[in-house]
């Protein structure tokens, strides 16, 4: 079975540390609400350091279940012989003109994010 890869990108440019990140689905550990408009996704640390990596997302108020549902659907969306690059959310709006985010798809309830890696 091909692995599905989950892509996150903050707004502005994807040209600096923690602007964007991609994890294989198998590294996903879980998600937890941290406030009425925030949901934090955790992944095994890429560098095998002590603390795991996380992406804290600003979401539409109270829609944690909806976002979790959509995340699960996207994460499970892989199929053999297809492109398994899966955009969870791409907020990059700093590309040159005539270019845009990798995909406008993704979870519409996510409006901002902070990527934290160890």
């Amino acid at each position: 079975m091909a692995e599905n890869y989950l892509f996150f990108a903050e707004n502005a440019n994807n040209d600096q540390d923690k602007d964007a990140i991609m994890f294989p689905r198998s590294k996903f550990l879980g998600a937890v609400s941290t406030a009425v408009t925030t949901l934090e996704f955790f992944f095994n640390d890429r560098a095998n350091a002590a603390a795991n990596d996380d992406v804290s997302c600003t979401i539409t108020s109270g829609l944690h279940s909806t976002v979790c549902d959509k995340f699960a659907s996207l994460a499970n969306g892989n199929r053999n012989n297809t492109n398994n690059f899966t955009v969870i959310k791409d907020l990059n709006d700093g590309l040159p003109s005539n270019e845009g985010p990798i995909s406008a798809t993704g979870i519409s309830e996510i409006s901002a994010m902070t990527i934290t890696t160890s």
Binding site: S26, L29, G30, T34, N44, N52, D54, S65, C68
Partner: protein
Amino acid sequence: METYLYFRKFRPATFLSTQGSATNALNTITVATLCGTDDIDSVTEIASLIVTPADAGNSAIGSAYTHPGAGLPLTLSIANGAVKSVANGVITLNTSSEDSDSGYTLEDEDTILVTLQQGLETSFMYPVSSLTGIEATATGQTTLRFKSLKNNGTDDVVIIEHTDGKYENIVNGINAIVNGRNHGGIVTVIDGSGGNTVVSKELGGLGIDGLKYTPESGY
């Protein structure tokens, strides 16, 4: 396909506290009957606080407020400091001397309507691959352990309270969720929000009335 297990704590939609004395600590949002054994400990779970004063004579209110008159509602500003602390299901407000603009010194027979919302660790989701074990930890209590989100050294723990003697039914139900053909995406295992308990059909009839979440560390 991976199955994802979604949980949401037991919480009432609202809670009405009628002050029996002039104290700024509201009545306890009882953990056993209203919160499914997991206390409210974070201000992030409070959506709004509406005070209805018993009389019009209280001048010990923050400068940001205008007294609404006896029996009329006044919404307190959580963002600006109305809440002093939240611990063990007890919300304590700042008095007007502790927070001069958004504090409110309560009087006997004032009522406070608390509306709750999703907040810190109110809901959580784990992939089945993070589940490391299910153990009977007490009579009527089963504990699920997951790989920790933060990787700080200990497991994340989810305790389910249920009818005595139903441990095997709980593990059978979890097994059915994980290996059943009905799922393959997200499964709401337990959702106790809004005063209504919703459990996955595989766990139905087991008297589930509590859910306690203990991740290895706060956020």
